[in-house]
């Protein structure tokens, strides 16, 4: 009964989405405020029914209802309850349900936090988001219904959740990632609205910016969590593989980053308008492309969604309609949203343009590398297979990022419209000299080895950090005291600097861990140990340790630091009972400056095992930097000016503003 209720809720959500995508839009063109105001309650209704539907699937999982096909193939009665719950998004159908729930949540959020928006703009934006809901609900109900029953002979037990997914990282990774993916639909809807109305002013950019920042922050966390999961769960100590599954999440992130910067220019200076619109369309299109590539079976994916050509075709059709229509609209309407202001060669506008070009070129390089095997195969046939690996991606990506870093500091210190070269020199020469000098001296002093890529990376990271410090001092110079000056700076300014600082931290993390990690595989009998740096690892043997749904062989590795007991690692080798899958569980001691990593190899007789020991300095900084970036995005959203009503109304023609503020929707009134 409950699964049928879930199914029914999905159908109701679809019906309301169809109404949402049609009625407010009709209202706009008939100038009927009643139809336009309907958009808000419709959003609330869709959201409620999606939550009910999600709850029904969760109920089926938690109560082991194996007559539901999706539950039977993604759960097992022995699974701990929290993995039963997260099993809801452990496969294709359920994660699609989560995806649509996220669309509904963002739509509902826009309808709630949009008091400042003129009603006709809001009606258009919500209608467009309604179209996205409709597409994916139809797709789900036609090809991937999570509530399908196994009518004849429901199995007594499920086939289990993929052991790789039985893990904390995987509980939070998909919701974060989808929040980011789907969050770009808001910027997309605003962009399409701008094309429809032909009106793209500072107010438009100010509405769009916080939503874009929010989606970007979620996507940043989602990607970082995915990378963290690969690092400790796959057990090889790697953290980024340039795998297609990673690339398709990374591309919308890069374009989203470009969009954030280009939106700033559009808001402050009223230029790059049609470029901003194109980036907003591209960011969401790349999100859709990612969803398509992962779910169509086009490539092998770690998510192991069942491959079904029919699904792929329906998804491709959605892509063609949504992306094709919006790019067509762009081609026709882009000239309407033309920029007016002028700027000079040394203005912040130009430096941000360079930032945008570098980010978009990197994205294009990654897109080409990801799809190249497919293109090659299409042209040359199956006999000539190629694979594109990390050497290609690193060659393309790293130099572009180094260049981006150089311009990052110049851009954030420069001024709008025109920056005098004397000012730039005054601000940056000392920063440049200091960062290059320290970038060479520090690593040389600590490691006593000459390594050019380390020098370069440390210099670039310091270039960002010193640039931030320099700018803070300059910006607060005209106040009485430094504290007063710092207090007068806006939250969106601090958000930017925090995100830039995060980027510097990531550069350091990636470079130092790549060069200074120590990885050893050794055969150890109980009581034997090895020494790495100031640490000594002593293997104490392996015992049998039964888990809830697996058998494990649990090892004990005592760690001594400078000869004194420090801590103990417990790497495991697990055999999952339902499927017989063997899984290596590494144990990692996470530290701010280094990770200690131990994994079990295979038994070698008389209690001896092959044990893999890693010492990975600064690896934590990669994820810590990503966290700082996301925190920067959130800080910028909190800036007052996004919530001040006056500031927005000023930019809106009087009659529109009157409709927008005069009409209260039923939801708002209640």
């Amino acid at each position: 009964m409950i699964p049928e209720l879930g199914n029914f809720s999905l159908v109701l959500a679809l019906s309301l989405s169809i109404l949402l995508s049609v009625l407010p839009m009709v209202g706009v063109y008939r100038n009927n405020p009643l139809l336009m105001t309907l958009s808000r309650p419709l959003c609330a209704g869709i959201w409620v029914f999606m939550v009910v539907s999600f709850g029904c699937l969760a109920h089926a999982f938690l109560n082991d209802d194996f007559s539901v096909r999706y539950v039977a193939s993604n759960s097992n009665s022995l699974l701990p309850w929290f993995y039963k719950f997260t099993g809801v998004w452990g496969g294709h159908e359920g994660s699609l349900l989560l995806w649509v729930l996220m669309v509904a949540s963002w739509t509902y959020a826009v309808s709630l936090f949009s008091r400042n928006l003129p009603l006709d703009i809001l009606a258009r934006v919500l209608s467009i988001m309604g179209i996205i809901s409709v597409s994916f609900l139809v797709f789900m109900l036609l090809t991937s219904n999570p509530f399908d029953r196994l009518m004849l002979n429901p199995p007594a037990d499920g086939t289990d959740l993929n052991p790789l997914l039985q893990d904390f990282g995987l509980i939070v990774h998909p919701p974060m990632l989808y929040m980011g993916y789907v969050g770009f639909s808001v910027a997309f809807a605003f962009a399409i609205t701008a094309l429809l109305t032909g009106k793209l002013d500072a107010a438009w950019a100010r509405w769009t910016r916080p939503w874009t920042n929010a989606a970007w922050a979620f996507l940043t966390l989602g990607i970082a969590l995915g990378s963290w999961w690969a690092y400790y769960e796959l057990g090889w100590g790697g953290w980024w593989f340039w795998d297609p599954t990673e690339n398709v999440a990374f591309m919308p992130w890069l374009v989203g980053t470009a969009l954030i910067h280009s939106l700033a220019v559009t808001e402050k200076r009223g230029v790059f308008k049609s470029w901003t619109v194109l980036l907003a369309i591209a960011a969401f299109s790349l999100s859709l492309l990612g969803t398509f590539i992962i779910r169509s079976g086009l490539i092998t994916s770690v998510h192991a969604f069942a491959v079904d050509p029919e699904r792929g075709l329906v998804l491709l059709a959605i892509l063609l309609v949504v992306i094709g229509a919006s790019l067509f609209l762009y081609a026709l309407r882009a000239p309407v949203v033309k920029g007016t202001a002028s700027y000079t060669m040394t203005s912040r506008e130009v430096f941000l343009l360079i930032n945008n070009i570098l980010l978009v070129v990197s994205t294009a390089g990654i897109l080409l590398g990801t799809l190249y095997p497919l293109i090659h195969e299409a042209i040359n046939g199956e006999a000539n297979m190629v694979s594109v690996g990390p050497p290609y991606f690193n060659t393309i990506f790293l130099p572009l990022m180094a260049l981006l870093t150089v311009f990052l500091t110049i851009g954030s210190i420069s001024r709008w419209k025109k920056t005098s070269t004397a000012f730039l020199k005054d601000q940056l020469v000392k920063v440049a000299v200091a960062s290059v000098l320290l970038g060479i001296v520090l690593p040389l002093f600590i490691t006593r080895e000459v390594n050019l890529s380390i020098f370069l990376a440390v210099s670039l990271a310091l270039w960002i950090v010193f640039g931030i410090a320099r700018d803070l001092v300059t910006k607060s110079a005209n106040k009485d005291s430094l504290v007063k000056g710092l207090k007068s700076l806006s939250l969106s300014y601090y958000g930017m600097q925090l995100a830039h600082l995060g980027f510097a931290v990531i550069i350091l993390g990636i470079c130092l861990t790549s060069h200074y990690s120590v990885e050893r595989d050794v055969r150890l009998a109980p009581g034997q140990g090895i020494e790495i740096g100031s640490y000594e690892f002593i293997f104490q043997g392996v015992v049998d340790a039964p888990g809830p749904n697996y058998r494990a062989e649990a090892g004990t590795v005592d760690v001594l630091k400078n000869g004194r007991p420090y801590m103990t690692l417990h790497p495991e080798k697990r055999t999952y009972l339902a499927t017989g899958a063997v899984q290596t569980e590494a144990d990692i001691d996470v530290g701010f400056f280094r990770d200690l990593f131990a994994a079990l190899g295979d038994p070698r007789g008389e209690g001896a095992w092959v044990v893999r020991i890693h010492l990975k300095p600064f690896v934590f900084w990669i994820w810590f930097g990503a966290f700082l970036m996301a925190a920067g995005g959130v800080t910028a959203i909190l800036d007052r000016r996004y919530r001040v009503r006056d500031a927005v109304v000023r930019d809106v023609p009087p009659e529109k503003a009157a409709t927008g503020l005069g009409m209260k929707s039923p939801v708002e009134a209640s």
Binding site: A230, T300, G312, L374, R604, G605, R612
Partner: protein
């Protein structure tokens, strides 16, 4: 070029890409052709000596472009004795596959004697001297057999003794896709 026409560049690029995506959905296309480092793991890098000291060392790069049949075995392992005669037959019959035997370090002498006595099905015999290759492969014990494609991606892993039935059911369909 006309300014208005330039605005159609994005949609043109998108439609070209969509064409390739449609091609990718072709029935019967092997999705492993776009390899995933996270699922079909690449065969790990290694440098290990030959079982026969005069032959020197081998590394993964020596076998790039070949279809590999990699068998982890030891003369001390009874199921390895069971599958051995079938391997002799198989290596004669499959010319385009490179057969690699990987021995454990503690049975080098016995393994050499075993091959000399009962025949050598392998094109190359390698000793996993420090056990690192077995960790990288996630080997649980002997025997285990890996099928690796020309791109160095592991297509299939079989745990336990291999016979003609398993070969026909599991290995042959995969081989048909990559040949």
């Amino acid at each position: 070029m006309n300014r208005r026409l330039k605005l159609f560049i994005p949609i043109a690029i998108f439609f070209i890409m969509a064409g390739f995506l449609l091609f990718g959905l072709n029935d019967g296309r092997n999705p492993n052709l776009v390899p995933s480092a996270l699922v079909s793991k690449p065969f790990p890098k290694f440098t290990q000596p030959s079982l026969y000291p005069e032959m020197g060392e081998f590394s993964r790069e020596d076998f790039v472009g070949d279809i590999l049949f990699v068998n982890i075995w030891g003369s001390w392992c009874p199921p390895c004795h069971v599958e051995h005669p079938y391997f002799l037959e198989l290596s004669k019959q499959e010319d385009d596959i490179t057969f690699i035997g990987i021995s454990y370090d503690y049975s080098m002498v016995e393994d050499r004697d075993f091959l000399a006595e009962r025949g050598n099905p392998f094109d190359y015999n390698i000793v996993d001297l420090d056990g690192s290759l077995r960790i990288d492969l996630g080997v649980t014990g002997a025997p285990e057999t890996f099928l690796v494609d020309q791109n160095g991606m592991i297509l299939y892993r079989h745990i336990g003794a291999l016979d003609a039935d398993i070969w026909r059911e599991k290995f042959v369909p995969l081989l048909d896709q990559i040949r």
